[in-house]
Symmetry: C2
């Protein structure tokens, strides 16, 4: 019974793609069958998994607008048990094209129904906005993972995001729960990081995950090799913390 986790935060550059790519890969290394859905027109998760965008005939756009089934779109990756549904610039058009439909916020949910049971986990990487694409992901998911950079502006956005989550729970998807808030790019030497971590743990004691992802150059190098950092440099601090996150996510999902 596939657990659907949306990785979302409208603040840009907080580590959504990096988290989606590494969590998916680490879950597959735990022998879970995983589907990663790239739901950002930038297609960073597609590139981060080593898929060449320019040769793709079909992407997730074709399931939303041209009614292709997701089963026809998924591509195997270098990691056994991990599959990806790629994205490219076409997806930017979907935001406008979906707006005209009656059930515009549940198009992805209906598509995922067809294949949900074939996977243990489905991870959705969202774009940095609260538009129709992210809305579709939040309606489809029962769990939400929110990466937050250890920076001031990133904290500001949380209040807005949690307000939108409450609205979605009340009207469109009562199953949606916050799986956790993940602190990313932490540099423990700085006061700012310490203040943000303390602030988040104070305001969101239940949601804040124990795992904190450190800032680590190997993490930002890995996309240029088309590999998640857990494969690119398994012994670095970034890879270790993403493996720790994966164990914490598995435990939190089992508790539900």
């Amino acid at each position: 019974m596939g657990v659907i986790i949306a990785v979302a935060n409208q603040k840009g550059g907080v580590g959504k793609t990096t988290t989606a790519v590494n969590l998916s890969t680490a879950l597959a290394l735990h022998k879970k069958k995983v589907l990663l859905v790239d739901f950002d027109p930038q297609g960073n998760a597609t590139t981060g998994m080593g898929v060449e965008k320019s040769v793709l005939k079909f992407t997730v756009y074709d399931s939303l607008i041209n009614n292709l089934s997701l089963r026809d779109l998924l591509i195997p990756t270098a990691t056994p048990l991990l599959y990806i549904i790629p994205a490219n610039l076409d997806l930017a058009g979907a935001e406008v094209e979906l707006a005209g439909l009656t059930h515009r916020e549940s198009v992805l949910q209906n598509k995922l129904k067809e294949i949900k049971d074939e996977f243990d986990y489905i991870i959705i990487d969202c774009p940095p906005s609260l538009g129709l694409l992210t809305l579709n992901a939040l309606v489809s998911a029962e769990s939400l993972l929110v990466p937050v950079q250890c920076e001031y502006y990133a904290m500001e956005g949380l209040v807005q995001l949690f307000g939108v989550i409450r609205e979605i729970k009340d009207s469109l998807n009562s199953r949606l729960r916050i799986l956790g808030i993940l602190l990313t790019m932490a540099d423990r030497r700085t006061n700012l990081t310490q203040q943000v971590i303390a602030e988040i743990r104070r305001h969101f004691p239940r949601e804040a995950l124990r795992t904190v992802i450190p800032r680590n150059i190997r993490v930002s190098e890995s996309p240029s090799y088309g590999k998640p950092v857990v494969l690119y440099d398994p012994r670095c601090s970034g890879a270790k913390s993403y493996r720790k996150l994966t164990r914490e996510v598995i435990k939190r999902v089992q508790k539900r």
Copy 2:
């Protein structure tokens, strides 16, 4: 005759707001009369300039949807000659509400016409997307400043952005020019930064600005004090590089 500069890049977290806030302030310190338009529903530029969002009665949203004039919305800041038009969450609604209008991409342009000549510079901070808000900014502006983080994913987005710019020049705004590509959060000690800078200078020799903004903790601390880094810590490397950027921008604008 106000020069309108849009600060845009659909990639998230590349330094758009930090650049808009510091460039605006440094231009005002050069005795230019400046208007900063916060055009991101996150309202980070509003917070970064020390404006308390919760007490605002009107924001830029009211000019787009309730037809208030921008002159009624601008607020003075702590820096003489610098004014801001604030934003808050309401602006997120504008993306959908504008979609139904006939000239939906030129609403901001028409509003700016009324006050354009009262300022030397108008700086627009854009959200991390290529939706209707950013489109309105690109139709209003004659100059585009593109911050790019010294990271792999940030480079990937440039190809998409330049494709959109070409379309806008051909159809909606023939005056639009790229003022420059600004490399941000550079850590010269890493290979990744060196590679990205070399790659950008090779692909975009004319557009790449000479000024490079270093990664500097004082820059990321400044928003929590409601001040741009050029006021918060004028002697740090981040502030010095933003002052250098400002001199380079003034020169490039004069050459046009």
